[in-house]
Symmetry: C2
Subunit: 156 residues, 2 copies
């Protein structure tokens, strides 16, 4: 149980890949897409996760989040009960100063979309902006994965 402070940005080039420490596939679906009570099922690196997110506050900077690890077979069974619009993406992790950027490259119906996220300790914490970092989209609900699941990027 935590309140996460995150800022989200579009990505201008593929230059981030050179600095990736690791990358892996993510498959996820939603048992509820409502931004006030999002219920996400995720498969990541052979592990299953169930995550519940609440309403965002501070202009989208922070959001209640609760997560539990679940059996990956259970995650597969739950993914079959999710709303239509399973999300497939490759996540790259890289360091920028003492922060970690997570860059998600979307596939399938969301091909062409690349989004970077950084987790901060406070809303005004400074961080190093890599040259590939584009426009900030923190708090823009269109970039919520729950929104993309229903309104994929290819239809924008």
């Amino acid at each position: 149980m935590a309140v996460e402070i995150e800022r989200k940005f579009l990505v201008k080039s593929e230059a981030f890949k050179q600095d990736a420490l690791t990358s892996y596939s993510i498959k996820q679906g939603f048992l509820n897409r409502d931004p006030e009570r999002t219920v996400r099922v995720r498969l990541k690196r052979g592990k299953g996760f169930l995550t519940i997110k609440g309403k965002s506050t501070d202009g989208g900077l922070s959001r209640f989040e609760w997560e539990t690890e679940i059996n990956p077979k259970d995650a597969e069974a739950l993914l079959q009960r999710c709303e239509k619009g399973i999300i497939y993406k490759t996540r790259y992790e890289l360091k920028s100063g003492h922060h970690i950027f997570e860059v998600d490259v979307f596939h399938g119906e969301n091909e062409g979309l690349v989004v970077a996220e950084i987790e901060l300790q406070s809303a005004d914490e400074a961080f190093i902006k890599p040259e590939w970092l584009g426009e900030e989209v923190t708090g823009d609900k269109r970039y919520y994965n729950s929104y993309l699941s229903q309104y994929p990027f290819k239809d924008w």
Copy 2:
């Protein structure tokens, strides 16, 4: 992860209370009320539970169900993010032959409603019907707790 086979009945009298082995309070809410992907948060005997139910089959007799125990403090936090319409009820457990009946006496907005459930191994398994057992309501979605949360019994 299981498919549960359950039959549900109304209750005609309070006679079941004489045979109760145990009773306890349940408080529960829904992160999604959709019968195809119900997400329930429950507090029961000091423990927390998160339960996901799928679409019912066989005329409401069986339904996909997945449950995990969670920290009761997390359950409290998640209950605050649930849809309006928290359900309060007292559950009585009693034996009938080698089966267990769970009888739920609803409170608050659902005061006056009493429902009994029996879990079976197969759809046609025989069981002893106590004299207090009323009309069968198996598969009637109005008696789903997720429905009662939105359309409480007092308004029927």
